[in-house]
């Protein structure tokens, strides 16, 4: 027995000593990021989620970009000319080559926006492209080798800005036309961004490599690997043991674990996304708008922010963002915390403690579970009988097949552009998710949506203010909670700061790694 134990200890010791002595030396600058999930596709028209937005702009390039202050900046397009409210023309820069080695020209744009990819209902990228552009194009014309003209079927007040969406990224037409299959292409797309796809294994990792012939300032690291580590504890331990340089989705109660260790920090805060609770109007109890308003008035949003997020998030003024510029209604007073009014509304509605279901998932949104539990208590305090139901997947919450018994669900509303048309207006509007699934509908809102879709700024602003009143104070389809915060654990050798969106920007000027 002694011999066995001695042998076992010897093997283990040798293993550890050898392991400790093995250090791979590499002169390459590499960044490893531990994430909860990777996108199911790397073609920007094939998926749209918080997860896909995290990576797309590192791989792909759009015709134009949008700076944090909302100004439009050139990317692949050298110039653009808005001919009228439906028509816009882009002139491409010359001398740009794709990650596949082919020069950029108008044909790449035609393929990117063309039939077979985004224009026909059976095209693989059709659905997300439709969500991004809303109304279809009447025509897309190649004017010359470097000029393309787009004409939409309807007037669009944010036509130019829509060309900053990930879905409008330009792909390499030559590579696309010689792809072996859509499935292969969608995980190994060829674009014009600063990094090109290296390897992709959906539930394991994906890596992107510096594209040396990128037309702009070259990527600051040679390789970025996004490793999938769904659980938070292994992500934190991987960061602290030096396996990962950055980890995503950290909850505030774990901040001290990271910050108490020398060489590590936490960064992040609210992004341009507003967390909401959505009311299903087909629920017999929630048909009455007074009960929906009572649910909204019962929520102490500041308390949730202070309790769950240590005050690091912010409370919006309704479903709108300050960067909407002239469309921001600064004087708007959204529904606030007023438990007495909530009780009064319940009494007026004759509410008798009928059960209302509230479905949520295990922290898809930061702090989702804790928020649900606190909300239940707040509602209970005013006399509302809310049953919280933890669900395993989205389909158990959102699909029509799951509608029976559904009361409230979680939602978040990303402002993909600094304009209300791409946020609340789109979600609640005609063709939006709630109307499509018959959870909420008013003719008045749809009329206001038409006005918001016009080009007269004053009229648009008036329409938007009325929309806010309608969805907050009169016939609420849901209620806002807080700006969704995102927190990252970072090794201090990495100089990187998150931006106010889901995108993790690893392009030049946004990332440095100390030698």
């Amino acid at each position: 027995m002694k011999k066995f134990i001695v042998l076992l200890l010897f093997i283990v010791s040798v293993g550890f000593v050898y392991a400790n002595g093995q250090h791979e030396v590499s002169s390459k600058k590499e960044l490893t990021v531990a994430v909860t999930e990777n996108p199911i596709s790397l073609d920007p028209t094939a998926t749209l989620s918080n997860v896909s937005m995290r990576v797309m702009k590192n791989i792909h390039e759009t015709l134009i970009g949008i700076a944090e202050d909302g100004t439009i900046v050139p990317r692949l397009a050298e110039s653009w000319k808005q001919i009228d409210d439906r028509t816009i023309e882009f002139t491409l820069k010359k001398g740009i080559v794709s990650q596949g080695g082919f020069p950029l020209d108008a044909d790449d744009v035609m393929v990117s926006f063309g039939p077979g990819r985004t224009q026909n209902s059976d095209d693989p990228g059709y659905e997300f492209f439709r969500q991004c552009m809303v109304d279809p194009f009447d025509s897309i014309e190649k004017i010359d080798d470097y000029t393309v003209r787009f004409t939409k079927s309807k007037v669009d007040p944010i036509l130019l800005k829509r060309f900053t969406f990930d879905e409008t990224s330009i792909i390499c037409g030559d590579s696309y036309n010689t792809k072996t299959s859509w499935e292969d292409w969608s995980v190994h797309p060829v674009g014009f961004g600063p990094y090109k796809v290296d390897e992709y294994k959906p539930d394991e990792y994906m890596s992107i490599e510096k594209f040396d012939d990128y037309y702009g300032e070259k990527a600051p690291v040679d390789k970025v690997t996004y490793v999938v580590v769904p659980d938070m504890s292994p992500r934190i331990m991987g960061l602290l043991s030096g396996d990962y340089d950055i980890i995503t989705e950290i909850m505030p109660d774990q901040f001290s674990t990271i910050e108490n260790r020398k060489g590590y920090k936490v960064a992040g805060g609210p992004v341009n996304n507003i967390r909401q609770i959505i009311f299903d109007e087909s629920n017999p109890v929630l048909k009455d708008s007074r009960i929906r308003l009572a649910l909204s008035y019962a929520i102490d949003r500041e308390l949730i922010n202070n309790t769950i997020f240590k005050g690091l998030s912010e409370i919006p003024r309704g479903i709108q963002m300050e960067n909407f510029g002239e469309m921001y209604i600064a004087e708007y007073n959204p529904v606030g915390f007023n438990p007495e009014l909530s009780k009064k509304l319940l009494k007026e509605a004759g509410y008798n403690g009928e059960e209302i279901s509230y479905r949520y998932m295990m922290d898809y949104y930061t702090g989702e579970v804790a928020t649900a539990e606190i909300l239940q208590q707040m509602w209970s305090d005013v006399g509302l009988n809310v049953k919280i139901e933890l669900k395993e997947n989205w389909s158990q919450i959102y699909l029509d097949e799951a509608a029976e018994g559904r009361g409230m669900i979680n939602w978040s509303c990303t402002a993909k552009l600094p304009d209300p048309l791409t946020q609340m207006a789109q979600d609640y509007g005609p063709g939006g998710w709630f109307q499509n699934h018959e959870m909420w509908f008013t003719d008045e809102y749809n009329g206001l949506y038409e006005e918001l879709s016009g080009t007269d700024t004053a009229k648009r602003r008036t329409a938007f203010a009325k929309m806010l009143d309608l969805v907050e104070d009169q016939d609420p389809p849901g209620t806002y909670l807080y700006f969704l915060p995102k927190f990252f654990g970072i090794n201090e050798k990495v100089n990187w700061s998150p931006v106010k969106s889901h995108f993790m920007d690893f392009r030049a000027g946004h990332l440095e790694i100390a030698e």
Binding site: M1, F16, V227, P230, M237, S241, D243, N393, S395, L399
Partner: protein, 310 residues
């Protein structure tokens, strides 16, 4: 081994696989849909409809069920909805990582667990026995996920000796293997000790010694084979626990194996991939139990396979 017995065994094996696969088929489809994972929350009803039509999800469930089994009998396990390639290929590509982890863990679990179990019984009621059993009790009292996290805290975070996640080098194997081995080896040590104590004081052991055998010879030739029967029984159940342990270990250590793929595929309702993994697990369980039946016959002639068929 008569043919009736073999036919009955094979029939039972197919019945088991069919029941398990059917159960998973129904539960998966009744509790979720991959549409939202693929198309996103804001997909239009037309897009959802087109997706359902493409994957045959708009057919009644019994039609889907019959189609699934018809395809299986033709060797077609379907396509992964998320990856767009053969579900079988997707699973097989992850299999080596899981199998390598399982094989090493199995060897270590059996050798360490059985060795210390036998030792504890031979030194019954001594300090050695007490130490081994205290360590074993501690071992199986720790949940696998806690053990894994503790190992990472010690060896990765504090000592910096081992990588916390991944599977690229042999160093990556150490902690997942230890996590899967320690708890199971402790269980085997306890069972082996109990089984050995049952047989060590049987009359046939005294007879063996009276015939002039040494203590060591009697233990090797009479005690261990007799004590092996209940231990072998546990091995059959343990294969199931091993798969569950692999799922946990693969999650903690971000190990790119079948266990993690199963969790991912169930979450996103990638039906065909889940079905392949479940069939794989049930086939391995059935084969393992068949092997154990054969080993029974070898260990104890009274439990002969021929008699089992009567």
């Amino acid at each position: 081994m008569n043919s009736a017995y073999i036919i009955r065994k094979i029939f039972r094996a197919f019945l088991t696989i069919w029941i398990v696969t059917s159960f998973v088929f129904l539960i998966l489809r009744l509790s979720g849909d991959p549409t939202v994972s693929v198309l996103g929350l804001e997909a239009s009803p037309e897009a959802v409809e087109a997706f359902h039509a493409k994957w045959g999800l708009d057919d009644p469930i019994h039609v889907q069920y019959l189609r699934f089994f018809a395809n299986v009998f033709q060797g077609d396990m379907g396509v992964s909805i998320l990856e767009g390639r053969s579900a079988l290929t997707a699973v097989l590509s992850r299999l080596p990582a899981t199998v390598s982890l399982m094989v090493i863990s199995t060897i270590l679990t059996f050798s360490v667990g059985i060795f210390f179990g036998v030792m504890a019984s031979l030194y019954h009621n001594t300090h050695k026995d007490q130490i081994i059993m205290t360590v074993a009790a501690s071992g199986f009292s720790i949940p696998t996920f806690v053990l894994g996290v503790v190992l990472v805290l010690i060896f990765s975070v504090n000592l910096g000796w081992l990588p916390s996640t991944g599977s690229a080098t042999w160093k990556h194997y150490i902690m997942p293997v230890l996590t899967m081995t320690i708890v199971d080896a402790a269980v085997f040590a306890r069972f082996t000790r109990s089984a050995m104590l049952e047989v060590l004081y049987q009359p046939y052991m005294k007879t063996a010694l009276a015939k002039g055998m040494s203590w060591g010879q009697a233990v090797r030739r009479h005690a261990i084979p007799n004590a092996a029967i209940p231990v072998v029984t546990i091995m059959g159940f343990w294969i199931g626990a091993l798969i569950a342990g692999a799922v946990i270990a693969e999650s903690i250590f971000a190990w790119p194996g079948v266990g993690r793929l199963l969790v991912y595929s169930v979450k996103h309702r990638d039906y065909n991939v889940v079905q392949v993994i479940v069939m794989l697990i049930s086939v391995s369980m059935v084969i393992t139990n068949l092997i154990i039946d054969i080993i029974y016959g070898k260990l104890d002639p009274r439990v002969s396979i021929d008699r089992g068929a009567e």
